[in-house]
Amino acid sequence: MFTLVNGLTTGMAVFLVAAGLTLVFGIMRILNFAHGAFFMIGAYVASSLVGSAPRSVLALVAAAVVAALVVGVLGIVVQRFVLRRIQHVDEHYMLIATFAVMLVCVGFVKLVWGLEFLSVDPPPGIDTGVDIFGLFVPSFSLFIIGSGIVVFLVLDFVIHRAWAGKMITAIARDGWMAELLGINVPAGIMAAVGGSFALAGLAGGLLLPNQTLSPALGDTFLLLAFITVVIGGLGNVRGAFIAAILLGLIDGLNTMFLPAYPGVAVYVGMVAFLLMWPNGILGESRL
């Protein structure tokens, strides 16, 4: 049970980061190396707003939203000046270009916030634990699990039900046709990419507590998010959600049975998975 909660927490944390990553791929066919770095910027921005001890849950969420806005705007800038230009080149060059963006982001963070590690406590209200059926569960874990599920439900609704999602899907499938139908394609893509980056910023803000902030923060989450996105099927949000839960559970079991080797099972599972299903659980999706 404890393993389950822990696993779900990890899984949802990873999903929060992976959601934006998979969306950018779905829209632009670009696997964005810089995504982890934007997540990190989100975390730093939020930490500057709330300090090391946020006053309330609301303050934390508000800071996360501000971080989302900041990173979303940054994302639009990056889309405008970098991603758009590399959309039609060899995929290897895309990876390099986004890697370069990541380096710039890391440099920027070092420049603004320095090299020292920062840490933030959970705000009052979710800093203790709750008793569920005689089991002590840290309420911050519940907060993360809840955030993950909310973000997933909202995204799923927007993509599959709402008009905005249908428009973006049309653009991703056939930009030329969408333009013919009178959709403003560049604006649509910009909004969608901005939104995807904003998700990275939001994740950074929400996951802030209990996190050690350092310029290397992006790397840790980036790899796990990559794994999730690939296993879930590139561009597929539902797949990413399922994959994130799986990954969290595998990691939870890993911690329970092999505490001396944290993280090993995730990579072993990932390698095995890729070899068996190179197209992911639900297959690749253009959104």
């Binding site: 696997l31 970098v82 230009r85 590399i86 039609h88 080149v89 060899d90 995929e91 290897h92 060059y93 990876l95 390099i96 270009a97 890697f99 370069a100 963006v101 990541m102 380096l103 710039v104 982001c105 890391v106 440099g107 920027f108 963070v109 070092k110 420049l111 603004v112 320095g114 090299l115 790397d219 790899l223 990559f226 794994i227 690939v230 590139l234 001396a260 080797y261 944290p262 993280g263 090993v264 990579y267 072993v268 990932m270 390698v271 890729l274 070899l275 190179p278």
Partner: protein
């Protein structure tokens, strides 16, 4: 004309490297030695990317395997057989790459191969960090620089700058080996596979087998570079094969130019120069490095070597230069 200029430049650079210890301080000498090793490392990567069209994002893992093999065997007291140890590290690297290639290349190329190799390298890194026999997170420190004996002559590499010159010779040999592989029949066939895999298959080329061999050779040379690096740095830690290490050859190659054999080496030396001159500026270093890389990808997709070739060729023969430039520009992916 192009060849003469480039050749002369290469000779000057090589001479400068060999004579470096006579005028530069030890910090610069160390940097130069490191750069030589990573330049060879980058060359091995481009053998895979520029010639076989496969991008590995986990080459750092193979570098790490070479370095650890060397560190462990030297610690075990086998320093008498230094050259054999290099051969052993190379062979282990090749064997591991072969095993990965057999399983991975059958199914995945492109992004999937990239992610798969990335995950494998990361798996190796976190495993190394947990093995106490290998020093866990602290790695293996104070590695000795051994004696190397070739037939009758024995050189004590621990003395002064001897190991630096040994690196010069070893790296030159490896570069020559790579050059020979890339320019011979094997390299030509690999290029056809990168340019059009299906067309190559319809010439009767077993493309899967060629890619596997290229993957193995590339891995062996990466491990060899790692094995040379261990006694040079005198310490190995799990981070020797981290993500930054794996991306190093990619950056060098792209900066220098993937379509040119010398591209990765040019990139390695340029990168080191940038890093050296910005070493005191925290944060600015990454911004400059990233900015330059971004500029290169967006503006000069053929890299520095491509731009150089185009420049020299234009001076020599304007008509052909244009044809060549067009032939090597970034090709958009259709379909």
């Amino acid at each position: 004309m192009n060849r003469t200029i480039s050749g002369a430049l290469l000779a000057v650079l090589a001479a400068a490297l060999v004579l470096l210890p006579f005028w530069a301080n030890s910090g610069l000498v160390f940097l130069a030695g490191t750069t030589m090793v990573v330049a060879v490392f980058a060359l091995s990567w481009n053998l895979l990317f520029g010639y076989a069209g496969l991008a590995s994002f986990g080459s750092g893992g193979l570098f790490s395997i070479g370095a650890y093999t060397m560190a462990v065997t030297l610690r075990g007291g086998y320093e008498g057989q230094f050259l054999l140890l290099i051969a052993l590290s190379t062979a282990i690297g090749g064997a591991v790459a072969f095993a990965i290639g057999v399983v991975a290349l059958r199914r995945s190329t492109g992004i999937f191969l990239a992610i798969l190799t990335l995950a494998l390298a990361e798996l190796l890194r976190i495993t190394l960090a947990k093995i106490h026999w290998l020093g866990a997170e602290d790695g293996i420190p104070s590695i000795v620089r051994p004696k190397a004996s070739i037939g009758v002559a024995t050189v004590d590499l621990a003395q002064g700058n001897h190991y630096y010159w040994f690196l010069c010779v070893a790296c030159a040999l490896l570069v020559a080996l790579c050059w020979w592989i890339a320019h011979g029949r094997f390299g030509r066939t690999l290029r056809t596979i990168r340019l059009d895999t299906e067309r190559a298959a319809f010439m009767g080329v077993d493309t899967h087998r060629y890619r596997l061999v290229a993957f193995t050779i590339s891995g062996a040379i990466a491990a060899c570079a790692g094995s040379l690096f261990a006694p040079w740095a005198q310490i190995v830690t799990p981070d020797i094969g981290n993500m930054m290490r794996s991306t190093q050859p990619i950056l060098f190659t792209l900066l220098g130019g993937a379509s040119s054999f010398w591209g990765p080496m040019i990139g390695a030396f340029l990168f080191s120069a940038i890093e050296f001159s910005t070493r005191t500026l925290v944060g600015i270093q990454e911004i400059i490095t990233g900015g330059i890389l971004l500029g290169v990808v967006l503006l000069f997709p053929t890299g520095v070597a491509g731009a150089w070739n185009a420049l020299v060729a234009r001076l020599a023969d304007p008509y052909r230069a244009e044809a060549k430039a067009k032939a090597t520009t970034l090709r958009p992916v259709k379909e």
